[in-house]
Amino acid sequence: MASRGEEIQQQILRETYHLVSKRDDNVCNFLEGGSLIGGGSGYKLIYRHYATLYFVFCVDSSESELGILDLIQVFVETLDKHFENVCELDLIFHIDKVQHILAEIVMGGMVLETNMTEVLTHLDAQAKLEKSEAGITAAPARAISAVKSMGPNVSIPHMPHFNFKGH
């Protein structure tokens, strides 16, 4: 999607919401969008409705409509797996994680990955790296704070030199 100014973005969003929320459940999930989005520029809105939420993708003619419908499903299933029974508040409180997951699927407006397992595997690999990084850098800090918490007048006992030869 081309980048647009803030105001136009808001208008597009309002128009999208207006168009999509009017739709009944048994009609097409495709919209050859309103004046700002479609109508000649070749863009379509493809959406799926889950309870109170709409997931809307704006795509150009190079995407398969049915394929995108399933891609939305993959995205939502990935969210569900990651958040363990995803709910609306997850999407708000963890907006950064949601965007991170979306960035695994769509990159610069192009579809990057369509497989849920691949996405989750990569997310896990990143999480593990982040944890181990925190573990290594946190250890000295933890040790220092543990000693400090023993009190201001604690003197560190003299540690005997460990003599290998003796054993």
Partner: protein, 385 residues
């Protein structure tokens, strides 16, 4: 089945007690959202948000802010971008935060930058050094973050600074990096085809062993084929062979979706082959067989993705040099879409039939009545088709 479950769960919330203790929430954001949930008027909501923004601005500009505090503020800012208030004061903080060495913090920096900046942002040049550093890093996650950001924000001015480094990533050991490098190079090509050499770059990865990387390669080739299919015709056999591997379920089983091996890749391949075979009998003859086999592989469609493959086959058959037998099979399969109760299928069915009819109007006669019925349908999108 999965759709039902999600349907029930997704609407569940809006009680304030958000109980997922294993997921740590940014306190500031939780506090803000809980406030917003209680508010009934637009003015109050606006005031609360503006107050919060002022608070964030002051705190972020404070010289004593810690990196973990800044991380939390940036998450709140990301939330604020969805509410469409002016948060440009945060741009510089986000850019600076990408320089953090802790991955957790760097990730938030890049996410914030993706939300806040665009390719015409005046501060974009400030990101270049960090991007170069992270692209060259031995940490594959940093490579990935930088590549994704490059694809999103690159412009004519900043592109030369990263082109060569990105190209080197095509031979990275991790498939996560390779596939992102390919998409980034495709974006460069879209920006300025003359200063890039996409076709050459892709040759090196066309035989990659990882199917996700192959998907990225085919995405790029599809774009090139749309521009000019002629130079790619020599690669037809390779594309056919990839599709054959998919039909034979060669890729690992966890790359299947609803029992089909990499359906989105199949869709792309079918489109690619369509461009190659258009108006070219010789090339088309090389692909008739694999197209037909793709059709028979989804003989009894039970889920949407199978229908989407049938549709692609139909479109491809209608685009390449006409083959009557193939077109008959295609017409027969697509007509079944029209009698479906699912409006999406009827819509796609009409699209498919339209294409076939443009090759040979005779195919339409049988289905005239069904198409006319669609004209009366309450669904506006369907009527327009």
């Amino acid at each position: 089945m999965a759709e039902r479950a999600l349907d029930k769960v997704l609407g569940f919330s809006f009680d304030h007690y958000y109980h997922k203790p294993h997921l740590s929430v940014v306190k500031g954001l939780q506090h803000l959202v809980n406030k917003l949930l209680d508010i009934k008027s637009r003015q109050q909501e606006d005031k609360t948000l503006r107050d919060e923004l002022k608070l964030l601005k002051d705190r972020m500009q404070s010289p004593t802010v810690s990196s973990s505090e800044m991380k939390d503020y940036l998450v709140e800012i990301i939330y604020m971008t969805t509410r469409h208030y002016d948060v440009s004061f945060a741009d510089i903080h986000a850019i600076k935060f990408t320089q953090q060495s802790a991955m957790k913090e760097k990730r938030i920096g890049y996410l914030a930058v993706s939300s806040l900046l665009s390719e015409d942002h005046h501060l974009l040049v400030l990101l270049i050094n960090t991007l170069q550093k992270d692209l060259n890093s031995t940490n594959f996650v940093e490579n990935c973050m930088a590549l994704s950001t490059v694809a999103m924000l690159i412009n004519g001015e900043t592109m030369p600074a990263v082109t060569q480094i990105v190209e080197k990533k095509l031979s990275h050991t991790r498939e996560a990096v390779r596939k992102r490098a390919i998409i980034a190079l495709l974006k460069f090509h879209q920006l300025s085809a003359e200063s890039t050499n996409l076709a050459n770059q892709l040759q090196g990865v066309l035989f990659d062993s990882d199917f996700s990387v192959i998907t990225a390669v085919i995405t790029a080739y599809l774009y090139l084929a749309k521009e000019d299919p002629v130079p790619l015709k020599s690669l037809t056999d390779r594309f056919v062979s990839i599709q054959r591997q998919l039909l034979a379920h060669k890729p690992p089983s966890d790359l299947q979706y609803r029992g089909i091996s990499m359906p989105w890749l199949q869709i792309k391949l079918l489109r690619l082959l369509a461009f190659l075979g258009m108006d070219d009998l010789g090339c088309s003859q090389k692909i008739y067989a694999v197209i037909q086999d793709s059709l028979t592989s989804v003989a009894n469609p039970s889920c949407l993705i199978e229908y989407s493959i049938i549709y692609e086959v139909v479109q491809t058959a209608a685009t390449i040099y006409p083959n009557m037998k193939l077109l008959e099979m295609a017409a027969e399969r697509i007509s079944k879409f029209l009698s479906s109760e699912n409006n999406n299928l009827r819509y796609i069915g009409i699209k498919g039939l339209t294409s076939i009819v443009q090759v040979n109007p005779l195919f339409a006669i049988e289905h005239q009545m069904t198409v006319v019925d669609c004209l009366d349908d309450p669904d506006e999108t369907l009527r327009r088709k």
